[in-house]
Symmetry: C2
Subunit: 295 residues, 2 copies
Amino acid sequence: MEQVEEIIEKFVKDAQEPKVTELFNTQAKGKRVRAKLALIIANKEKASRKLAAIIETIHFASLLHDDVIDEADTRRGKASVNAIEGSKVAVMVGDIFYSKAFYELVSLGEEVAQIVSDAVFKLSRGEMQDVYLGNDFNQNPQLYEEMIYLKTASLIEATCEAAAVLAGKERVKYALYGKNLGLAFQIIDDVLDITQPSEVLGKPAFHDFKEGKTTLPYIYLFEALDSEKKEYLQSLFKKDLSLKEKEWIKSNMQSTGALEKTLQKAHKLANEASALVATEDDLLKIIDKVINRNF
Amino acid sequence: MEQVEEIIEKFVKDAQEPKVTELFNTQAKGKRVRAKLALIIANKEKASRKLAAIIETIHFASLLHDDVIDEADTRRGKASVNAIEGSKVAVMVGDIFYSKAFYELVSLGEEVAQIVSDAVFKLSRGEMQDVYLGNDFNQNPQLYEEMIYLKTASLIEATCEAAAVLAGKERVKYALYGKNLGLAFQIIDDVLDITQPSEVLGKPAFHDFKEGKTTLPYIYLFEALDSEKKEYLQSLFKKDLSLKEKEWIKSNMQSTGALEKTLQKAHKLANEASALVATEDDLLKIIDKVINRNF
């Protein structure tokens, strides 16, 4: 993984812009889940380290633009680039990292380049669906799942699939492992937004609903409420919630079983992912970390 | 060229987002200089049409982000996407077009994909240099030229080079033709900002200096002025200029020969481009159109 970090730092340096390096260094590195997946599946070969660095660079670029779109001030416990330098700079630095990653991607061969670039196309469409779904209180779990597949799971799926191609392994199997893992990852993220305090998350807690994101726990909660309470929940949509309102949501999510149902969904996806890699300890461990985390 | 438009429309449709299609249709198509270059150099083969569509899609994506960064309300005589839907949507739609273009690019082979993706990396760095150069009154013509090479000329250079690769022609020659053409193109653009009215430009006139862009005519003007007038010119930097101040700039640009010197620079670059393709009428015509235009 150290070598992966070195490749990423080389990408940053290649931009030949002191400001880019400076801003890159203000940001936390994250969990590097995608890089780990690439290294494990592609057996730590040289190409797998490059793939890992490319994917993390793409992920970093997408977060820069995501924070502009969500007007997020913090990311991984630190001030976001848009909070430090404004959204225009965050757009530009994101473009620099995206284009560098694409340039490097080409050298990994047509098959890998197509898998990864298609995922970035999906990710960009997912970002847009996320915003437009937020115009109204979304009650449709299928629309939510399609969006998180595009926005989050597709890049994890592509990481695993591309790594499998590099290693000459079954691409369909690893793609499906990655897809299920990615969906579970996002669903757990959405649960943590409700259950964890800001200090643990490294970003504002209880933020999704205010941002117009009706995540799975909210959809299941809505399904379970009587019509009077349904109306009350809808009245809270996109509002700056008081402590009392947050407590109401949390306790109803517990009493109706909405939170439990969401966790079951994540566990089901994780189990499906586990079944695909039943003999591969390192990949099973990643699933475990994704599911049993508190930030 | 009609077939190129069809391929671009297919790219738009592949995003499967009604909003993307809707916004795409609000925008003017532009002069399609890059597409014409690709078709001419690569002999209108099938791959050249795809290259042309990809380059125009990249160019369109870069303009969407450029308008966010410059806070531009109009583009090609129409309201910009950020003016219609806000800068967040413009960022997202730009990302969708960038990633789609990269995905399609991969199928044109490693050599072409590397040339074009490297240009997008340059373009993104050029955008950033443009913004940071605007923090102060830039007096250095070399910094200006490096920036416009990255921001504007690199993609035109890459278009010509990639088209030459597709057609099995000398890539170095066509790359240099494209680079000189691109530099001349941008210098003419910077002159038009000063000499043409908004109605003709399709965007606000006399806008660069206010935006912090000390383009070549301003750099040459500054060089030619005495110290008192130098100070006056610097005092106008980034200001909302009155009609009188604009007139002062324009008349001093004429009396000092700064405007003429800038045009000579553009003509010199155009002549260098012409010398490289002396027997190719279609490419000479493009140079002529780039130089002798009023918007």
